[in-house]
């Protein structure tokens, strides 16, 4: 499963407030740290397992712990219409 941004959704750097925001049709929100780590890795080619591997390595954390967090967050972002796939 390869997550990608839904049409009209993207990550945007809010320069004025020095933070990242998710922009989507007529809504915007500030992602939490876990969501942001995932969203920054979405490039339309890396699948969910690849994202889990990358974050397990980056945070030097057990893969199963990272996997639980990433899968839950990806599901939440899908439900909010930000991600497809």
């Amino acid at each position: 499963m390869t997550p990608r941004f839904a049409p009209g959704a993207r990550l945007h750097h809010d320069r004025a407030r020095d933070r990242w925001v998710v922009m989507a049709p007529e809504r915007m929100f500030v992602p939490d740290e876990t969501a942001l780590e995932i969203l920054r890795l979405i490039d339309g080619t890396l699948d969910l397992d690849g994202i889990i591997d990358a974050l397990a390595k980056k945070f030097d954390a057990p893969r199963d712990v990272i996997a639980t967090d990433v899968r839950a967050m990806a599901e939440d972002l899908r439900a909010r219409g930000v991600l497809l796939g």
Partner: protein
């Protein structure tokens, strides 16, 4: 003081439709007064610099401007998320493709009713409904996300289930079901538009059921009407708190209806920067925060949640823009709303139109 998050760019008041609840002011600006492409480009750059993240390209009908593609590109290049708010009747395949290529992010398409005859009576334009359906197809073919915006009221609420079907059939990912808000043209048509309590309750039930039935496929945003409320809405998230608008003639507004409040002088982008308008103008500071509030808002634990409600509605109904919004049950004027509901039921509209030139 917060920086603004969103800019409403009202590019023109020209529109082929004549909806009797139009949010434009009664006194419409003519084409000769409109800001130029270059002036809008500067507005977008200043808005982005000020902290705005998105722009709503609106009107009137924004595609009535011949430079709509250049304007869209300028907003995109300024770094703003671009949302086109359109009636769709002027959109052809070539324009849609050029808008997409210019960086358009999203389209919000209005629909006046689910059945063409009703839609065309309400919008006051023959043939509009079929053109809107064609525009929806063009938006989808361009790969852009589509929101359908259905303004609902006494004369089309019976068709709300069909409006939801229309959103699904036209491929919208999002539907706004927005009850009319009563200022300007809509206030002049209040007797024809105000729904009954039974209509409102049924609409709320229909929306709740549709949200459940179409979860994951259609997102439904629901704007409820003040006239049956006991607490006011947090209009604009607070005056001068998150939002600014620029009118076709360049006036900088805390709310698109703010010009209905007489006695306020709005800064113009032809005279001042957006930054000066936002931070320093009397108009933006007049109702900012809570310091201006009279009783019963003063000291109310909801003061920073609803910001005293809508200034335009307070002015329209009480003659005092600093009064508590009569939508609040604590307002001494709250009874005006129930009285208006009791009085409603007129069949005919007064359509939106440019004021006739004196002979």
């Amino acid at each position: 003081m917060n920086a603004p998050l969103a800019l409403l760019a009202e590019l023109t008041h020209r529109c082929p439709l004549r909806c009797p609840y139009c949010s434009n002011p009664m006194e419409l600006s003519r084409a000769a007064q409109e800001l130029t492409t270059e002036e809008w480009t500067r507005v977008f750059q200043e808005a982005a610099g000020l902290g705005c993240l998105q722009v709503h390209l609106s009107g009137g009908e924004p595609t009535a401007r011949r430079d709509i593609v250049e304007i869209t590109r300028a907003a995109h290049e300024a770094g703003l998320y671009t949302n086109l708010i359109t009636a769709g009747v002027l959109v052809d395949p070539s324009l849609m493709e050029r808008l997409r290529a210019a960086g358009l992010d999203h389209v919000q398409l209005s629909v006046q009713d689910a059945d063409p005859a009703g839609a065309e009576r309400i919008g006051g334009m023959k043939g509009a409904h079929a053109r809107k359906e064609a525009a929806a197809r063009l938006v989808r073919e361009a790969g852009l996300p589509l929101t359908l915006n259905a303004v609902v009221h006494r004369q089309n609420l019976a068709n709300l289930p069909l409006l939801i079907d229309t959103a699904l059939a036209w491929g919208a990912g999002r539907l706004e079901v927005a009850h009319v808000q009563y200022y300007g043209w809509a206030l002049a048509n209040r007797d024809a538009l105000l729904p009954t309590r039974e209509q409102l309750d049924e609409a709320t039930r229909v929306v709740d059921a549709a949200r459940e039935a179409h979860r994951g496929r259609l997102l439904i945003d629901y704007v409820v009407p003040d006239y049956h409320a006991s607490r006011p809405k947090a209009c604009m998230g607070g005056w001068g708190n998150r939002f600014l608008g620029v009118s076709p003639a360049g006036r900088v507004l805390p709310c698109h209806a703010a010009e209905s409040i007489t006695g306020l002088v709005f800064p113009n982008v032809r005279d001042v920067s957006l930054r000066e308008a936002w931070y320093d103008s009397d108009a933006f500071n007049r109702f900012r925060g809570t310091g201006w509030m009279p009783e019963p808002c003063r000291g109310c634990d909801r003061a920073e949640r609803d910001w005293g409600g809508c200034r335009c509605q307070a002015f329209a109904l009480t003659g005092d823009a600093a009064a508590t919004d009569p939508a609040c049950s604590l307002s001494p004027h709250h009874g005006l709303l129930a009285a208006a509901v009791d009085q409603a039921g007129a069949p005919e509209f007064r359509y939106r139109e440019f004021r006739r030139e004196p002979v």
